[in-house]
């Protein structure tokens, strides 16, 4: 019990450091449902391979027969849908935020191999969208109740594996980039489903729905018991 309390204290501390330490800038959307809808829609369009993977395959010349089959997600790089569904909302947001941070980092690495300005523009738009997604995660975290009260430990490491070890082979590096982006889109698809479940659970249990018009830090929404039960209980399976 004491250890559990300790873990919650640590999680709260991490979230506090993660979100609240952010300097006060633009205000977040204080409507939970709207914000959730934004997250769903962001996840929906970010899962489209046309946002990143397809241009990348085309840019890297991987759009040839026999090569696409090798562009498959490497397991363990991104959390699976099941894992994500088992996470608590705070943990989910934390994992999501961390993973997207890693994606941004990886995109910066991939950016080095893109020479065309047009392609770079697409990549920058994708990066900007991810940053926007992270902004909404931050705002959602502001709306979630008891962020600082959670006692369960949350994984501090990202869902996505750390930056891979440098690969000298250029083809292998492109292929790894392709596999990464493939996993990214799949991950965003899973994220979208999770957020959709959030919305469905909200409609099923209105009594737990957050009140409209909550101001940042003043009002908090109350999560349903189901969502509490869906909180992750351990590390993400690999």
């Amino acid at each position: 019990m004491r250890a559990q309390l300790m873990r919650r204290t640590l999680l709260s501390l991490v979230l506090g450091l993660l979100f609240l330490s952010t300097p006060a800038m633009g205000s977040c959307l204080d409507n939970y449902q709207e914000l959730l809808g934004q997250l769903q829609k962001q996840a929906d369009f970010m899962q489209h391979t046309s946002m990143l993977l397809d241009p990348y395959i085309s840019i890297q010349g991987l759009d040839k027969d026999g090569l696409k089959e090798h562009c498959q997600e490497r397991p363990g790089v991104f959390p699976s849908k099941d894992v994500l569904q088992r996470l608590s909302r705070q943990e989910f947001l934390q994992i999501l935020n961390t993973t997207l941070g890693h994606v941004l980092h990886r995109l910066r690495t991939l950016q080095k191999d893109i020479l065309k300005a047009q392609d770079l523009e697409k990549l920058n738009i994708a990066k900007l969208n991810i940053r926007g997604f992270k902004n909404n995660i931050h705002c959602m975290a502001q709306l979630l109740p008891g962020s600082l009260e959670k006692t369960e430990p949350t994984p501090t490491g990202p869902g996505a594996s750390p930056s891979p070890t440098p690969i000298s082979d250029a083809f292998q590096r492109r292929l790894e980039g392709c596999r990464f982006l493939h996993g990214y889109h799949r991950f965003m698809h899973s994220v979208g489903q999770v957020f959709r479940e959030w919305g469905q659970s909200l409609s099923r249990s209105r009594r737990h729905s957050p009140r409209r018009g909550l101001r940042k830090g003043k009002h908090r929404t109350h999560l349903s018991s189901r969502n509490k039960r869906l909180m992750p209980r351990g590390w993400l399976p690999r």
């Binding site: 952010t22 800038m25 633009g26 205000s27 977040c28 959307l29 809808g37 934004q38 997250l39 829609k41 962001q42 369009f45 489209h48 046309s50 523009e121 920058n124 738009i125 900007l128 969208n129 940053r131 926007g132 997604f133 992270k134 902004n135 909404n136 931050h138 705002c139």
Partner: protein, 910 residues
């Protein structure tokens, strides 16, 4: 620009010039309307050099010295100046000192800039054009007169974006340099800043996706359906924004020739889609479509309209029978009529497709059906005089229209039952026709119309209306200012009714020509004007009235309105003998037009006035003349006696037998006494006249004087030879002729004078003596035969050589009737005259003839005859008797004047 007027403090070579002081603040920017204080601080070196202090400072603004009341000497080195309510935008302020009491030196100068702080930007709004970056705009507020920077700031909750600096020329909008991130709220505001302050607009927080203006749908296409002629299906491709948001649409359509768009109800297009089927369209009609979209929830902006796309609905059978009518034309074949069946092409909305042909059927009374296929819209056929029923159908690819039925009546059909109250009027640039339907059921109405013109024939156009219609407009291509003759014919089941016609104008205009007026009749005080009706081609409308303008040259114009039905008018109360100018204007509802001016002059007299004056005058003159003539005729003898007194014919005279007992003639004019005895027919007067200057014998003179007195007393009755005025001259003369007595001479005798050359009692008379006698004897032919005069002259010359020139002069103008005596007889009588006398007399005659002519010679002949003739008529004898009576009046003159008694047939010389 900061103007620094420096003062040379040190003139050491090689050193920089330093100002002798400075002004604080250095570069002030002052708000308009506020107060401002500047301080000038002098340097000690300058003060010592020029021996001045702060009291020597004076200020100038824009080269004008500031009043000292605004100065404040702070200490020995500093002086300030204060300005209240700064109103100028740019002020040049200088600090000066007066050195050595007279030299003004500029110490330092600054420029004061005035303006206003920026106002808070308002109405900040942003738009995200799909595929482009976000652009925001705002109202900058009032003019600041200063350089003001506007900065668009934006940030998320977790990060800030780079500021968006406005361009100098567009300070009211700014486009950020990052791509919009949808579904992430962003906070945006504007900062306005200038030298007088900084102000921030209200922050707006929005999701950029709610500010999206999508690109319009593209690749719009239209397709029809053979199964349904009333639908068209639209398909399009949405913009890429559809991957982020759901869209709703506006779909508009119109027919090809229409200008107004119809719109599909928005609720039918409120969701994302890529196609739509438009229903309730007309068959075989081309429609044009366009589409636009926006975010489904209505946030954001509508896209621009897509490119237009068109499609034609599929054909359907003609929805209506064609308008059907006929014309009957004379036929050369006896018993037949040439009937032209005419019909109108169906409008597209009724044809519902391309009309391939028309099917005409003719049914004669109790005969079989005849079918004809016609491609044209008219068909001429020879029909008998029987009644026919014609039907017409139009056919297209899908089917046939309903049949239009028309009854062509028999030849002797009498049309009746016309429409009533037919009216035609323009309205909304259309010519409307209205009528009252007959009591019976009418199948349809046929409206025919044509332009009435004097130049071209009436070519009718026509249209058909349903039997329920009582008012319609003519659907032809009508022109303004044209007179249309409109005929409405009701069509019954058994044939057409009586047509009714009316004239109308689509739009009237003033006549293009005015009427030409002329005079029909001009009187002294009135004039009848006449004119012709304007031709219909120049009327341009219904002539409502005429106006006649007339005036004299100096008078005012008078206008008279005349009804349009008239063609003449009488101007009355005109002034006689005056030139009038008259013109005429014809008016329609839209105005009038003047005709040419016409002039006429009223006469001085009215008709018949001259006749009324002249005829009576002439009649009076004629009457007077006639009366005069009658009077003269009645008094012709009296007049004759006055003008042509009777001269006795010497040849018929005789010497009156003197009787001493004859009572003296007291009443010389008493004819009764003279003619009472019946012995005298005339009286001859013997005139004795002195022929020369020789003094006559006293007794002769005495008797002559007495006679003269008598003569004077009876003047008017006396007469000399020829009875001329010469005889009534002042020349002493004796005349014994009596006019009254002469008038009694019914034989028309001619008076003659008898000249007595012989002296009394064998004495040679000193004066020429002549006597006059009355005689019916015509004058001697010697008057017309001067050669005979020589003989007479000879005769005279035998009487004596007395001078006779005076006598002839006195009678030079006298003219008398020639005596009717033969030349031969006279020549014999003068044969005894001696030669000497003849030569002398001839000489005298020659002298006289040069001045007198034949008249004188005539007189000479008379004298000669009186001397020469010895034979006398009875009348002549009587005249001589009278002479003897006269001679006996003066008994005292017996010595000088002896009465001669002339007996019948003899003459006795005294």
């Amino acid at each position: 620009m900061l103007l620094k007027m420096i003062l040379k403090c040190k003139n050491t070579p090689g050193e920089l010039l330093e100002p002798c002081g400075h002004i604080k603040p250095e570069s002030p920017v002052v708000q308009l309307g506020s107060n401002f204080t500047a301080v000038c601080v002098l340097k000690e070196k300058c003060m010592d050099y020029f021996h001045v202090n702060a009291n020597y400072i004076f200020w100038k603004t824009n080269h004008v010295t500031v009043p000292k009341e605004q100065y404040t000497v702070i200490n020995r080195t500093a002086s300030s100046v204060t300005f209240t309510d700064i109103s100028l935008l740019n002020i040049q302020l200088t600090c000066n000192i007066r050195t050595f009491g007279q030299i003004d030196q500029n110490v330092y100068g600054i420029r004061i800039i005035s303006g206003l702080p920026p106002e808070k930007p308002k109405n900040l709004s942003c738009i995200v054009n799909e595929g482009k970056k976000m652009m925001c705009q705002w109202d900058p507020g009032r003019e600041t007169y200063l350089e003001t920077n506007f900065t668009l700031k934006s940030e998320w909750a977790t990060e800030k974006f780079a500021d968006c600096k406005t361009k100098r020329d567009i300070p009211t909008s700014c486009t950020v340099d990052y791509s919009p991130v949808y579904f992430v709220n962003i906070e945006v505001w504007v900062e306005a800043e200038n030298a007088l302050g900084k102000v921030t607009s209200d922050h707006i927080n929005f999701d950029p996706v709610d500010k999206v203006k999508p690109n319009p749908p593209h690749n719009l296409s239209v397709s029809n359906s053979e199964e349904l002629s009333s639908i068209l299906k639209l398909t399009w491709i949405n913009s890429s924004i559809q991957s982020f948001i759901r869209l709703k649409y506006n779909i508009q359509y119109r027919t090809r020739d229409a200008s107004i768009w119809s719109q599909i109800p928005p609720e039918d297009t409120a969701s994302s889609r890529t196609s739509f089927t438009v229903q309730d369209l007309k068959p075989f009609t081309e429609y044009v479509f366009r589409v636009r979209c926006m975010k489904e929830d209505g946030k954001g902006f509508w896209s621009d309209w897509s490119e237009e796309a068109s499609g034609i609905t599929y054909e359907d059978r003609p929805s209506k029978a064609p308008s059907f009518w006929y014309k009957i034309e004379p036929s050369h074949t006896h018993g037949y009529r040439s009937v032209q069946l005419i019909w109108k092409t169906l409008p597209p909305f009724e044809a519902n497709g391309k009309i391939l042909d028309y099917e005409v059927t003719l049914i004669r009374w109790k005969s079989r059906l005849q079918n004809y296929t016609v491609n044209d819209t008219k068909w001429t056929v020879n029909l008998t005089n029987d009644r026919y029923i014609a039907t017409l159908t139009a056919r297209n690819l899908v089917g046939k229209s309903d049949a239009a039925v028309l009854t062509i009546p028999a030849y002797n059909f009498q049309a009746t039952r016309p429409v009533t109250d037919l009216k035609a009027f323009p309205k909304d640039n259309m010519l409307w026709v209205e009528w009252t339907a007959p009591n019976e059921s009418v199948n349809k109405y046929i409206l025919e119309w044509c332009v009435l013109s004097d130049k071209s024939p009436c070519i009718p156009d026509w249209q058909q209306e349903d039997g329920t219609v009582h008012r319609t407009f003519l659907r032809g291509n009508l022109a303004e200012s044209k007179c249309y003759l409109i005929t409405v014919t009701p069509v019954y089941t058994d044939g057409p009714g009586s047509p009714e016609s009316i004239k109308a104008y689509l739009k009237q205009a003033p006549p293009s020509k005015g009427p030409t007026v002329r005079t029909k009749k001009v009187g002294k005080n009135e004039a009848v004007l006449e004119w012709d009706q304007l031709p219909v081609d120049v009327q341009n409308g219904f002539i409502r009235n005429y106006t006649i303008f007339y005036r004299t040259i100096i008078g005012n114009e008078t206008a008279v309105n005349v009804d349009s039905s008239h063609t003449e008018y009488t101007l009355s109360s005109l002034t006689s003998d005056t030139l009038y100018m008259v013109r005429m204007a014809a008016y329609t509802d839209e105005g009038g037009k003047d005709g040419p001016e016409f002039t006429f002059t009223t006469p001085k007299f009215a008709q018949g006035e001259i006749e009324a004056i002249v005829v009576p005058v002439c009649l009076a003159f004629l009457l007077t003349t006639l009366l005069g003539v009658l009077f003269c005729f009645n008094k012709r003898d009296l007049i004759k006696k006055h003008i042509w007194p009777n001269v006795p014919d010497p040849s018929k005279s005789h010497i009156a037998q003197w009787s001493p007992h004859t009572p003296p003639r007291h009443n010389f004019n008493s004819k009764d006494q003279i003619y009472s005895d019946g012995n005298f027919t005339d009286v001859s007067v013997v005139e004795i006249e002195a022929a020369n200057d020789k003094k006559p014998f006293p007794e002769d003179l005495k008797s002559l004087d007495l006679f003269k007195k008598e003569k004077i007393s009876t003047e008017g009755h006396s007469s000399g030879i020829g009875g001329s005025s010469c005889m009534s001259s002042s020349r002493p003369s004796i005349s014994s002729s009596d006019e009254n007595e002469s008038a009694q001479n019914t034989s028309g005798t001619v008076q003659y004078s008898t000249v007595v050359h012989s002296g009394y009692r064998h004495q040679v008379p000193s004066v020429q003596v002549f006597s006059r006698s009355e005689s019916t004897q015509p004058l001697l032919d010697s008057e017309e035969r001067p050669e005979d005069l020589q003989l007479v002259d000879n005769t005279d010359s035998s009487v004596g050589n007395l001078p006779r020139q005076q006598y002839f002069k006195q009678n030079c103008s006298q003219r008398e009737t020639s005596p009717d005596i033969s030349h031969f007889e006279r020549s014999k009588q003068v044969s005894s005259v001696n030669e000497e006398d003849f030569v002398r007399l001839k000489q005298q005659i020659s002298d006289i003839s040069q001045s007198c002519g034949s008249g004188q010679m005539k007189m000479f002949q008379e004298i000669s005859v009186a001397d020469a003739f010895g034979l006398h008529t009875e009348g002549q004898v009587e005249r001589f008797e009278t002479v003897g009576t006269e001679a006996a009046v003066d008994e005292g003159m017996s010595k000088s004047y002896l009465p001669q008694t002339v007996r019948r047939g003899g003459y006795m010389p005294q």
